[in-house]
């Protein structure tokens, strides 16, 4: 099935337009990498608060923002500055993005520019009706606690603002490299992963496949599931490629060795193969993925490309639903709304926390700016935060449960050792004391 055949279909409706914004230093590097690789077809845009860093970008469309605040010298790692700079120029940003259906925001969280500006940008883009997909990196652990914390805060904001956030912690990349890998190569790996993310999703959407995956499928998977999305891609060729590709995919550190899949509740799988792709290959790959992602709604697509003879490539987007989105999901209109809005028109985002969404309200999507929060929104954010924390705690091993140093009962020789906890009882404390048996 060649590209020429499918074109008329596309022309009849409208061609999907996408844009990639490289935000901040890491974003610009990633965009440079994408341009050097095979992604030239997409329009790129580089944005930064630092004029000198911006000059490094190999993109003709460059936007320097926050000029008044920082005189083109960068934020110095302060997200508030980044946020302020972006908020001031929201209108300008909207102009830049207008007419785009799918916006990729690429950047590195932790610094000032991306952490502060990405959520603002995402929000602005959503107001213009685009589907916003952010691909962001998180800092290495050695970059310090403060940067990590900033990155986490930024990620949280971004998840609320963007439709999908695919997050690539640098620390996970460490697992992919060996001791001798140079710093340059390490960053090249992250850039390549970001590029793969953009490329994979773009190809998934534009290539007309046997079993088509389209924009609305992507919306189904990502919308309302901002909490956790992840992305992985793998390729294999030759004998036993189906098995090899699943093994590679499941071994990907981005999926946390399959953990993310197991927890995902929507998975989008896109297969690419040559004309020799067999049914059993597809079956084998899908069976493994289905097995790993038991709970998930799995949407699959397959495309046949003549140049991919002997090759099988899998691109996978998995998303876990956040608690808030569960409430949204019941809304049966939502999917249609989303597809429609993302495709062509601007529609209303329905949020159960606001008073009933009246049909008369003309505003396209009400997205409150961060400073003036409504009461409900505040409560909801608060609840989200609490949920986030409680999930965190579940990951901590059982025996880490803290104990106040109030006990009068000595544990004798087990004082220093790791407590043996069983359903909240400390088994190191003598049984007769826990049972309250009197010895007299």
């Amino acid at each position: 099935m060649s590209n020429e055949i499918k074109l008329p279909d596309w022309e009849n409706t409208r061609k999907l337009s996408a844009k990639v914004i490289g935000l901040g230093g890491a974003g610009i590097n990633a965009v440079n990498h994408m341009i050097r690789s095979d992604l030239r077809e997409l329009p790129f845009l580089a944005m930064h608060t630092n004029a000198r860093a911006l000059a490094q970008a190999a993109v003709s469309d460059q936007v320097l923002f926050g000029l008044e605040l920082m005189r083109g010298l960068g934020t110095g790692g302060d997200p508030d500055l980044g946020r302020a700079a972006a908020s001031e120029e929201t209108e300008k940003l909207k102009e830049l993005i207008s007419g785009t259906d799918l916006l990729f925001i690429v950047g590195g969280l932790g610094g000032g520019t991306t952490t502060g500006a990405a959520p603002v940008l995402a929000r602005a883009a959503k107001e213009t009706g685009a589907l916003v997909l952010a691909l962001v990196t998180l800092p290495f652990e050695f970059e310090g606690v403060r940067r990590q914390r900033q990155a986490q805060a930024g990620l949280h904001d971004l998840r609320l603002a963007a439709d999908g956030v695919i997050c690539l912690p640098h620390q996970k990349v460490v697992k992919l490299i060996d001791k001798n890998t140079s710093l340059l190569e390490t960053f090249a790996i992250t850039n390549e992963m970001l590029a793969q993310g953009v490329r994979g999703i773009w190809q998934m959407l534009t290539r007309h496949g046997l079993i088509n995956v389209d924009f609305s499928d992507l919306c189904t998977v990502l919308r309302g599931r901002q909490a956790e999305s992840c992305f992985a891609t793998a390729e294999a060729r030759g004998e036993g490629r189906a098995r090899e590709v699943t093994d590679k995919l499941l071994a990907s550190p981005l999926l946390e060795e399959g953990q993310m899949l197991a927890e995902a509740d929507a998975v989008l799988v896109s297969l690419i193969g040559g004309p020799d792709l067999t049914m059993s290959d597809v079956n084998r790959v899908m069976e493994q993925i289905n097995r790993q992602a038991e709970k998930a709604q799995v949407i699959m697509g397959a495309a046949i490309l003549p140049e991919c003879e002997g090759l099988i490539g899998v691109t996978l987007v998995a998303a876990r639903r956040s608690g808030r989105a569960k409430a949204n999901a019941d809304d049966s209109n939502e999917r249609e709304n989303l597809a429609e809005s993302a495709g062509l028109s601007v529609s209303e985002m329905e949020n159960p926390f606001f008073s009933s969404p009246s049909q008369t309200r003309p505003s396209p999507r009400y997205l409150p700016p961060p400073p003036d929060l409504t009461q409900e929104r505040k409560e909801q954010l608060f609840a989200d935060q609490g949920r986030y924390r409680s999930r965190k705690q579940k990951n901590v091993s059982r025996w880490r449960q803290g104990q106040l140093p109030l006990e009068i009962v000595s544990k004798g020789r087990f004082e220093q050792s790791e407590p043996t906890l069983h359903e909240g009882e400390d088994l190191d404390v003598p049984t007769y004391i826990r049972r309250g048996v009197a010895l007299n």
Binding site: G258, G412, T420, P430, T431, V437, L439
Partner: protein, 408 residues
């Protein structure tokens, strides 16, 4: 087939003592124990090393003793590992049979096992054993070997035992520090079960509880396969500690009291009796109420059994223990512990003995030696399997950990 008269050594670095069992393996594969060595363990708490220097000293002493008794030089050992970090669970893998005639080939079996081994574990965890249970062909359960059968889909159940990699490494490091090779590691509860149970007992269903100084391991066999394994980081140390606190004596003395007067069941006839503790070593003369002492011991032991029983009940295995409960480990010497186990589990119970192996009688009769003897037995299975590879391959830790061994 075997190189020189083969010597197999089992080592257990326990909480209360380090045990070494040296065994000869005949050409027929029969084991004969020719030496044992033991040393008091000081650097271990709850089955895990907390003081590496002292622990390796103790290991050295035990090995030297065993070397003298058996008159051999020990170069490599099989090591028993345990600890609260170890967990066991059952996993199932499946695989569609691809061939045209639907005959299940060796490759299919390898594939299905590979699938069953694909487990999501945290990165720091390491799989110690993957033990094959039964195969299912098209949903038909209980198939021992499916090669040559016909079917569209093979499944296999495996029992996976895993633990924290670093904590597993600690005893291995201590042994290697003494220039002694570690040929393989085995979960000590599994080793105890290997040494105590005959295939008949495994078939009928049995529970082996190894109550050591710091940890209690338990293993359930039923239908010839491992159904359940677990570790509880509670053992004889806890009994002593409870006593030390309860009757207000120093720990050493509590240990002694436990051995001399402890009992798992409180008899009404001892009401009001006291034990006179002679003064000595600067300790005052003391009268201890025997009933209190036994109550403290009994409550602790009963709790251990009750925890195991409730866990097995949750796993639905309590009704499968048709052969009963077998106890081993130092605490199984406690008076009337069999009675207590019978009461809690509602099945016959007994102190296990390693009857399937010949050799030094004193070692075979002691319940403490069940686990190191089992390690030797495990080692004999392993070396049988590896005797061919041995000529060509080195033995890294990676190879020794995470293998499959056959149903045993």
């Amino acid at each position: 087939m075997f190189k020189s008269p083969s010597i197999l050594v089992g080592l257990e670095v326990g909480t209360s003592k380090v045990c070494v069992v040296v065994s000869e393996i005949s050409d027929m594969g029969a084991l004969n124990i020719i030496g044992v060595g033991q040393a008091k363990s000081r650097g271990v708490r709850k089955g895990e090393i907390v003081d590496a220097t002292v622990a390796s000293e103790d290991i050295r002493n035990a090995i030297v003793e065993a070397e003298q008794m058996a008159n051999v030089e020990i170069r490599s050992v099989f090591l028993a590992v345990t600890g609260a970090h170890m967990r066991g669970f059952n996993n199932r893998g499946f695989h569609p049979v691809a061939s045209h005639d639907r005959e299940i080939s060796d490759d299919d079996v390898q594939d299905v096992i590979k699938n069953a081994k694909a487990i999501n574990l945290p990165a720091e965890n390491h799989v110690v054993h993957v033990i094959r249970q039964h195969f299912l062909v098209d949903g038909q359960a209980g198939i021992v070997n499916p090669v040559g059968m016909f079917g569209a889909r093979v499944e296999v159940d495996v029992h996976v035992l895993h633990g924290n990699y670093n904590r597993l490494q600690n005893p291995i490091r201590a042994v290697k520090g003494l220039q002694v090779e570690v040929e393989g590691v085995v979960f000590s509860g599994l080793a105890s079960a290997l040494s105590l149970l005959s295939s008949h007992q495994k078939e009928l269903g049995a529970l082996v509880i190894d109550i050591g100084g710091g940890t209690t391991e338990y293993v359930v066999y039923s239908g010839g396969i491992i159904k359940y394994t677990g570790v509880l980081a509670v053992g004889g140390d806890h009994v002593s500690n409870d006593l030390a606190y309860g009757v207000k004596v120093p720990l050493g003395r509590a240990e002694q009291l436990k051995i001399e007067h402890g009992s798992a069941v409180v008899d009404s006839s001892i009401r009001g009796q006291t034990i006179q503790m002679a003064s000595g070593l600067g300790l005052p003369e003391q009268a201890i109420n025997l009933e209190h002492l036994r109550r403290i011991v009994s409550l602790r032991l009963e709790e251990i059994f009750a925890l195991i029983a409730s866990e097995l009940e949750a796993a639905g295995l309590l009704d499968y223990l048709r052969c009963g409960v077998y106890l081993c480990g130092g605490v199984s010497r406690t008076r009337d512990i069999v009675k207590l186990a019978e009461r809690v589990f509602g099945t016959p119970a007994s102190i296990g003995n390693s009857s399937s192996i010949s050799g030094v009688k004193s070692a075979l009769d002691q319940p403490e030696f069940a686990s190191p003897i089992g390690v030797v037995k495990f080692g004999s299975f392993e070396s049988k399997k590896r005797s061919d590879e041995r000529k060509t391959l080195g033995h890294g830790f990676k190879q020794t950990l995470g293998y499959i061994f056959r149903r045993s």
